[in-house]
Subunit: 115 residues, 4 copies
């Protein structure tokens, strides 16, 4: 299993071979991330639970591609902004553990500020 | 450096300890991904290049948290839908290499269907 | 009932009194529109049909504000780009009537290219 | 110039002739609004100021269609949730006038809570 560093190297190589860094300002990159996330969401639009289940079973490849597109931009932005993404996730998880203590949040989708 | 499998295990443990799986239908998870991507994008709103540079240098931690939030949902959805994300990225990159051959796309932000 | 021209005049007056036109480049305005639409969507996140119904009945004012925020940016962008929005809607409806003939699309949420 | 009531009547007639109300739950409608706003935003992606200007002059019709699509969902949701949209905008503008007094906010894109 490849780690985040390997995956990042691969996408940056792809990008730099095409001389695309000059387009990758943070605003447009964030915008791309939103657009790819929107394309993923579109897969589930207008469908009820049963239809979604069916759609996933026959469109797993396409959904995987959308998730890959989102990951591409997350890794690229983390690289360009010199953010250690694994470390950032680690820290965010610790923060979430405090915001959502198991005893208070178990089985509830209440936002932390209303727990 | 942690790999995607380790990071995924960690977030699924966090989720399952809180008994939140029951909320995580694909539509709402995709919706969360879009909302987190939007929060990331908000960091760059109304700012020109110089202001963005300044903002990044003083808000790196906050931006890292938003990227972590996006990654959280990407990993969670991949897990729940049984999608091998590293493999999906690998395949998508191969596809992109064909869609955007270096010779044709170097230095241009033209969409593949207009190359 | 006010028409689109009156509402547009009102928001442009608000904007120009604050000398904000200089910030309103199309990219950031479109980005604002997405962010406001995301805030609206957040109202329905993690809620099933019954919970949504309940939420609407007690948060109608807040939801109305989000819809107003979206309309604000739609009117502002139409104004700045010199687009006649009522006319654009008129034309789009005519197009949709052709793309989705009643006989073929009745009761179905199939996309026009799959009808 | 048509007012919001007339435009709303027209789109609801279009919708009801196709028997689509049954699909229009608030979550999916909000999701559609986000997707249409994202499509509008895509027009300005990867473009600098000059390229945006050029793009607008040659794609005004397409941009108008995206704005119309957003307006379609705003009007439809307001109708279905029995929200008086013109009234909601009126109230939001009054609120914004208090949040952003001219004397404090003139020429600044500072958020109200930091003024």
């Amino acid at each position: 299993m490849k780690n985040l560093t390997d995956l990042t190297k691969q996408i940056i190589k792809f990008r730099d071979e095409r001389d695309w860094k000059k387009f990758h300002n943070p605003k447009d990159v964030a915008l791309s991330l939103v657009l790819e996330a929107a394309e993923l969401m579109e897969h589930f639009q207008w469908k009820n639970e049963g239809e979604i289940k069916k759609h996933i079973s026959k469109s797993k490849k396409e959904i995987g591609e959308e998730l890959a597109d989102v990951l591409y931009w997350v890794l690229l932005m983390s690289h360009d902004l010199k953010i250690d993404l694994a470390d950032a996730l680690e820290k965010k998880m610790k923060k979430n553990e405090k915001k959502y203590p198991i005893s208070k949040s178990k089985g509830k989708h209440t936002k932390y500020n209303k727990l």
